[in-house]
């Protein structure tokens, strides 16, 4: 059995997440991936904002920075530019990264700075009690959309691609092996990489949307997720109500801190 103890801060358990929450699954997938890649705990920094997912750093024994709502990517940008040798992972959620922190999200992607962003998308503000988020599906219920959400939802991965991210993948908390592969690829990518993890929130989202049981939410993930390869071959009709997971973009482009290093080299006074 995999030994998690080397990577976790045991003294901070039990964790705060609800039974059936996807956040713990993602945390374990991340830890296993870190181990597989041999990421140094001393040289890895995890930065988060505010929300359920943003509590992740408290449980991981690395350098951890729990910031203000929406600003994780901004803080992480400072860490990475100041010390590009550090691996910088951002853990955030749909509300944190695409509502209050939306500006930092798109600009970090545009800048193509070498951050790995794990964005737990659970379609809701969990920690504050189930309010509508930018990814709450139209028509779904939330504590601030009790007559059904009127607004269309963001496609987070699409947003990152449009903004210029060099690596974008979507995974989910049910297909964990695949999620690990995607996180691994993202961590190895030199550039802005996003892994959008569709993760169940039975407490704040499920209960309001006829999926109070965590099992039911998991089954729904199992049944609606389609691989990108399969997605390509599906008709519009077949795609309805489903979403694809896998690598959605993987391109090479100049990375910000590498470009900055070149600038410093160029400016160096000649001997």
């Amino acid at each position: 059995m995999f030994d998690y103890l080397q990577y976790v801060r045991q003294e901070n358990f039990p964790h705060i997440w609800c039974a059936g929450c996807g956040d713990g699954i993602v945390l374990k997938a991340l830890i296993r991936t870190m181990d597989k890649l041999g990421l140094s705990q001393d040289e890895t920094v995890m930065v988060s904002g505010i929300g359920c997912s943003s509590r992740t750093p408290g449980y991981v024994d690395i350098n951890t920075l729990h910031t203000t709502h929406g600003r994780a990517i901004a803080f992480a940008t400072g860490v990475k530019i100041a010390n590009p040798d550090l691996n910088v992972i951002v853990v955030t959620g749909d509300g944190d990264a695409t509502a209050i922190g939306g500006n930092h999200f798109i600009h970090a992607a545009r800048r193509n700075i070498d951050l790995t962003v794990l964005l737990y998308n659970n379609y809701i503000y969990g920690m504050t009690g189930g309010q509508c988020s930018p990814t709450t599906p139209r028509g779904a219920n939330a504590s601030t959309a009790q007559h059904g959400n009127l607004e269309p939802a963001f496609n987070i991965s699409g947003l990152a691609i449009a903004a210029g991210a060099s690596f974008v993948a979507r995974g989910d908390a049910y297909h964990v092996k695949k999620l690990e592969t995607l996180i691994g690829k993202a961590l190895q990518k030199k550039g802005f990489s996003l892994v959008e993890v569709v993760s169940p929130c039975p407490t704040a989202f499920g209960r309001r949307n006829k999926m109070a049981s965590p099992v039911k939410m998991m089954e729904q993930l199992r049944d609606t997720v389609v691989s990108v390869e399969k997605w390509e071959k599906m008709t519009g009709e077949e795609r309805k109500g489903r979403f694809r997971t896998g690598i959605l973009r993987d391109i090479e482009k100049p990375e910000f801190t590498a470009e900055y290093a070149k600038l410093i080299e160029k400016m160096r006074p000649e001997e």
């Binding site: 729990h66 901004a74 940008t77 530019i81 010390n83």
Partner: protein, 381 residues
């Protein structure tokens, strides 16, 4: 500003002097967002920093810039951001985070007129109370000021030193006049400049507590990446850096955030005085208005009015003792400032109502000319 101090003489704007001071202090990270009248600080540093292996980044907004300098500071860098009123407002939440997490960094606010967008190109001193109380929650605050390019250079260095010594964000408040006036600056030899670095851990990682309660009240934050793995949060935390709900621990933390500035007030506060010993009318003036006050005091003396000036170079913590001492000597105090009495209020409090405190507030975007202050003093006499 004596002419006989050793150093290289240069002509520069206050904003450029700020950039030069930052470099001299060892600042190697700047993150900012364009805003008048502070942008020259960013522009200068965008040229200077890469030449020194330092980092400059123009962020997507003011909050991002504030977040980025905190992130950089946690890797051990001395970091700076510069802004003006509207940007200063936007930065408050993240500035509060730096106070709570005790991350050293420097925020320069080249003050312009407000409220709101106000007067982008005209001077004001309307952010002096915001510097103290702008962010939510109780905490001690250090805010410096400067009245010339020379002082901006020196106070920028001091801001970094205080930030590093007391592990706190430090604010430097100058105004549009100081930021944009080109004048002589004497740059001392690097060896003559006092530079302070934050404490380093004296324990191995196993026994290290970032926010350990020590007699000096100052935490020791090891740079990220040096083998000390700890947690930083804006939530109430205990000595470990992890969130706590323990009422004792919370009380201790919040009291310490105020106390750690209070107990060092005598080291932090510095005032200049002009003809205050025998003064009958005391003037309390800071920033560019202190220059007006110097001139006005001299004019008054020529007219036979015994005026004297108390000029704080540190606005927060407020120089309560010096104001009280002045209040006990003079018959009245006049406080000229480019707002409607933000500091006059503090002066009244500090003087314990022992003498009348007269406000002279100007908020039309013009500086206060010496003659206007002289007239006010005459009126008071």
């Amino acid at each position: 500003m004596s002419n006989d101090r050793p150093g290289k003489v240069r002509m520069m704007q206050g904003n450029q002097a700020c950039a030069e001071g930052a470099i001299a202090a060892g600042c190697r990270f700047f993150a900012g967002y364009p805003i008048t009248p502070s942008s020259e600080i960013a522009e200068n540093l965008s040229v200077m920093l890469p030449r020194l292996g330092g980092k400059f980044i123009q962020m997507e907004d003011e909050m991002a810039a504030m977040g980025a300098i905190i992130g950089a500071a946690l890797t051990g860098q001395k970091s700076l951001t510069a802004t003006s009123g509207p940007g200063f407002s936007l930065k408050q939440e993240t500035k509060g985070y730096a106070s709570m997490a005790e991350v050293p960094c420097v925020i320069v606010n080249v003050m312009r007129g407000g409220p709101s967008t106000g007067m982008p190109t005209l001077p004001a001193q309307m952010d002096v109370q915001q510097a103290r109380w702008g962010a939510h929650g109780d905490r001690g605050v250090i805010a410096l000021t400067a009245k010339s390019a020379q002082e901006t250079y020196e106070q920028t260095i001091r801001a970094f030193n205080l930030a590093e010594r007391y592990m706190t964000p430090v604010i430097l408040l100058i105004d549009e006049i100081t930021g944009h006036t080109t004048e002589k600056v004497i740059i001392p030899d690097a060896s003559d400049i006092e530079i302070v670095h934050r404490k380093k851990p004296d324990k191995d990682p196993e026994n290290y507590l970032p926010y350990r309660f020590t007699d000096d009240c100052i935490p020791t934050l090891a740079p990220f990446g040096t083998g000390y793995r700890y947690n930083v949060t804006g939530l109430c935390h205990n000595e470990t850096g992890f969130p706590t709900n323990d009422s004792n621990e919370i009380q201790c933390l919040i009291e310490r955030l105020t106390r750690k500035i209070e107990i060092y007030e005598d080291d932090i506060i510095r005032n200049n005085e002009l003809m205050l010993e025998d003064a009958e009318i005391g003037v309390f003036a800071y920033g560019s208005v202190a220059r007006t006050a110097q001139a006005a005091v001299r004019i008054c003396r020529e007219e036979g009015i015994k005026a004297g000036l108390l000029e704080p170079t540190v606005l927060w913590p407020f120089p309560t003792k010096a104001v009280l001492a002045m209040a006990q000597k003079v018959r009245a105090i006049v406080v000229p400032e480019l707002n409607l009495g933000q500091m006059a209020r503090e002066v009244s409090l500090a003087s314990q109502c022992s003498v009348p405190v007269h406000k002279l507030g100007r908020v039309d975007g013009s500086p206060i000319p010496p003659q206007q202050l002289v007239e006010k003093i005459r009126e008071v006499v």
